[in-house]
Symmetry: C2
Subunit: 219 residues, 2 copies
DNA sequence: GGCCGAGTAGACAGATCGGTCTACCTCGCC
DNA sequence: GGCGAGGTAGACCGATCTGTCTACTCGGCC
């Protein structure tokens, strides 16, 4: 029983060819049609494999859902960090914070026509005990933490507040991308972010003990 | 066939007692557990009625989903407008725009522990032809239009841009409410909104022809 | 009294759900 | 040559899905 769940524990590169095809098919179907609405039969058929392989490699649908979320999370993290590192490495303070919105713009263009995959998944996983929920929480916490780091490095007067605000703008932009009601949500978010960053940097943090982060609950 | 769909076309007050119980039960279950995951048998059982009544009154699950979204939409609209009218009727310009976030704060406290019901529903209704999608689009467009009206009344220099920004902040706040990663998302959104409103009102609109709205696609 | 809208009770249908199973094939490695 | 991991093919299970149906009850209205 412990061996079968190996696919959800190790790096995605170590997946068996069959498991790789299944995870690819499941990722596309889960995002495009919803998690509950997609059955394991369809996934196996779309992947060109059989349910046997699916259950041998992943153990069950819940584990497959979790693997889908985990891989999407990893992809987003490396996308964002490599973009920020590459496009604003030695720019003026605050530029890296705004670069996250440029990364988001390109990400949504390529991978997010239907809104945030994690928000959508959370809507379908109401049970807080579901393993996928931990991945979703981790993704949101990671982004907020990353923004907190960049805010601190930029010298924001209250990096915790700025991180909260920028995380909010990220979420709002991604969600509105999926609902065609605002012309350029990422652009609007970036404009608001510029204001927020400007304000946070206009009153530079006083020298002294570093300001503690004010995250809601770190358990 | 035309008669059966009466419940989805008329005001919710005109619902039959049985239909009322079914819609109430369905609304709670759809929001708390997700739309696809909830079956009609459970809805009928939870409502203390039978499937027969459900199909006689609503015609089918899709129509029931649409009725759920429609009623939730109406409730939110009247909640927001009455709050804004009551709490900031004769205040200084821009105050009404910020009052929408106070209304949102109380709304999420009472009705939105699991994020935006419309965003969650959109995640489960990928088919653009589903009648529920029109309700979701209508809700988002209405909010954006309402914010545009308030922005214009407040004398914003670019009410279209301000409406886009405030709509974005609303969405971000509601979504983040459902994911406990930011301490007070509505508060953060309100803080950002204050900045945006202040900026939009600091350069009052020049006299002359009214600025045309720049909505993405009004069909 | 007669009628009809509304509701209850519950069987029923066909499809699909997640999940298990047997049987067989193929490939690389010892 | 033998062995085991990975895969294919497909039957099978019980449960649940949406949706339909018959039969009966109740209450208000003409």
């Amino acid at each position: 029983m412990a061996r079968e769940t190996v696919a959800t524990e190790t790096a995605p590169e170590e997946l068996t060819p069959g498991a790789r095809k299944i995870l690819d098919a499941a990722s596309a179907l889960f995002y495009e049609r919803g998690i509950t609405a997609v059955g394991v039969d369809l996934i196996a058929k779309e992947a060109g494999t059989t349910k046997k392989t699916l259950y041998d490699r992943f153990g069950g649908k819940d584990a497959l859902i979790t693997a889908y979320l985990r891989e999407r999370d990893l992809r987003w993290r490396s996308w964002l960090t490599s973009w920020v590192d590459g496009h604003a490495a030695d720019a003026r303070p605050g530029e890296q914070l705004l670069a996250t919105f440029d990364a988001l713009a390109e990400w949504t263009r390529q991978h997010n026509p239907r809104g945030c995959g994690f928000v959508n998944a959370a809507a379908e996983l109401p049970d807080p005990a579901h393993p996928g929920r931990r991945v979703i929480d981790g993704q949101k916490r990671w982004l907020r933490g990353y923004l907190f780091e960049l805010s601190t490095a930029a010298g924001a007067d209250d990096p915790g507040r700025l991180a909260d605000e920028l995380a909010l703008l990220h979420e709002g932009a991604v969600v509105l991308r999926g609902l065609a009601v605002v012309a350029d949500p990422v652009g609007s978010a970036r404009a608001l972010a510029e204001q927020a960053v400007e304000r946070a940097l206009s009153r530079p943090r006083a020298a002294g003990p570093p300001i503690a982060d004010t995250r809601p609950d770190d358990r």
